[in-house]
């Protein structure tokens, strides 16, 4: 009985952990990328950093989010302050898959003029996860 109760208690305690994390979302995108390319090497911090600064049109990610993902940004048009993107500086980031998809859809269109691939999304999250407040 104790063993079973212990398992049940673990399920109860683990339930909140079912929520998304930056790492789980990054892995999810990486898995999607793997299904389309067998040679996919996994999320890349360097590629994510390049993407973050890529500006084929009017804006890059950094235009609003600044060069420092751990810093607060400002909306290029409205001037509204944007809380830091890097999880190290803002624990609320990348905690909700639907919210993350909503913003990737919008902001990839705004910056690159096209949707991002799952590999690109994984790379950007990898770059943001690598950004620490100490640097």
């Amino acid at each position: 009985m104790f063993k079973k109760a212990l398992i049940a208690a673990t399920v109860l305690l683990a339930a909140p952990a079912l929520a998304d994390t930056p790492e789980s979302l990054m892995q999810g995108y990486a898995e999607q990328a793997r299904t389309t390319s067998t040679s996919y090497a996994g999320p890349s911090v360097a590629t994510g950093q390049r993407l973050f600064h890529q500006q084929p049109r009017d804006w890059s990610c950094a235009t609003c989010h600044t060069d420092q993902p751990t810093a607060s940004g400002r909306h290029a048009v409205t001037g509204k302050v944007i809380a830091p993107l890097a999880p190290a500086a803002n624990a609320e980031r990348f905690r909700d898959a639907a919210k993350v998809e909503k913003w990737f859809k919008r902001n990839c269109n705004d910056t690159l003029g096209r949707p991002c691939t799952p590999a690109e999304k994984a790379d950007v999250i990898a770059f943001l996860l690598a950004a620490t407040t100490g640097t």
């Binding site: 049940a8 339930a15 048009v77 001037g79 509204k80």
Partner: protein, 159 residues
């Protein structure tokens, strides 16, 4: 044997509690109730700009704005249908938002007659200054803008 059935009953209770807990957690993902729409509007629209009070535009203009969110003043502000319906109801538009807009240009609060009148002493230069940037940035001068407060006496123009 009697002990065995006792254990099973306890198991059943523990697992039922676990199932109830998980079901409750899953319920958090259901679409927002009407009472939650106020925060939906503030959260969705207020993420990029002041959560402009519904009274600042007529319902037909809000409908036109909501029908063109994918090209919203130069940016993609698209929402899923459920969220957009919640925002529409908050703005007094009703839940059936036209999927295509009949208007050629998206209405702007800053182009409303009353807005121009209220701000006729404010220069275009000040609106473009680094501290303000745009007429969309109500909070630059109206500290209570996010709470829908635009009282003239509380205006502080940044210099």
């Amino acid at each position: 044997m009697r002990m065995f059935s006792g254990i099973r009953r306890i198991d059943l209770i523990v697992w039922s509690l676990a199932a109830l807990f998980l079901a409750h957690a899953a319920m958090a993902a259901v679409p927002p109730t009407p009472s939650a729409t106020a925060t939906v509007y503030a959260e969705e629209c207020g993420a990029c700009h002041t959560a402009y009070p519904a009274r600042l535009l007529p319902p037909a203009d809000w409908a036109a704005v909501l029908a063109t969110l994918d090209r919203h003043f130069g940016v993609d502000a698209s929402l899923d249908a459920t969220t957009r319906a919640a925002v529409a109801s908050q703005l007094g538009v009703g839940t059936s938002v036209a999927s295509t807009s009949t208007t050629k240009t998206v209405p702007r609060i800053t182009q409303q007659g009353w807005f121009r009148e209220e701000h006729d002493e404010i220069s275009a230069q000040l609106f473009r200054s680094p501290a303000v940037r745009s007429g969309a940035n109500c909070g630059a001068c109206h500290a209570g803008a996010d709470r829908g407060q635009f009282d003239e006496h509380s205006v502080r123009i940044p210099r």
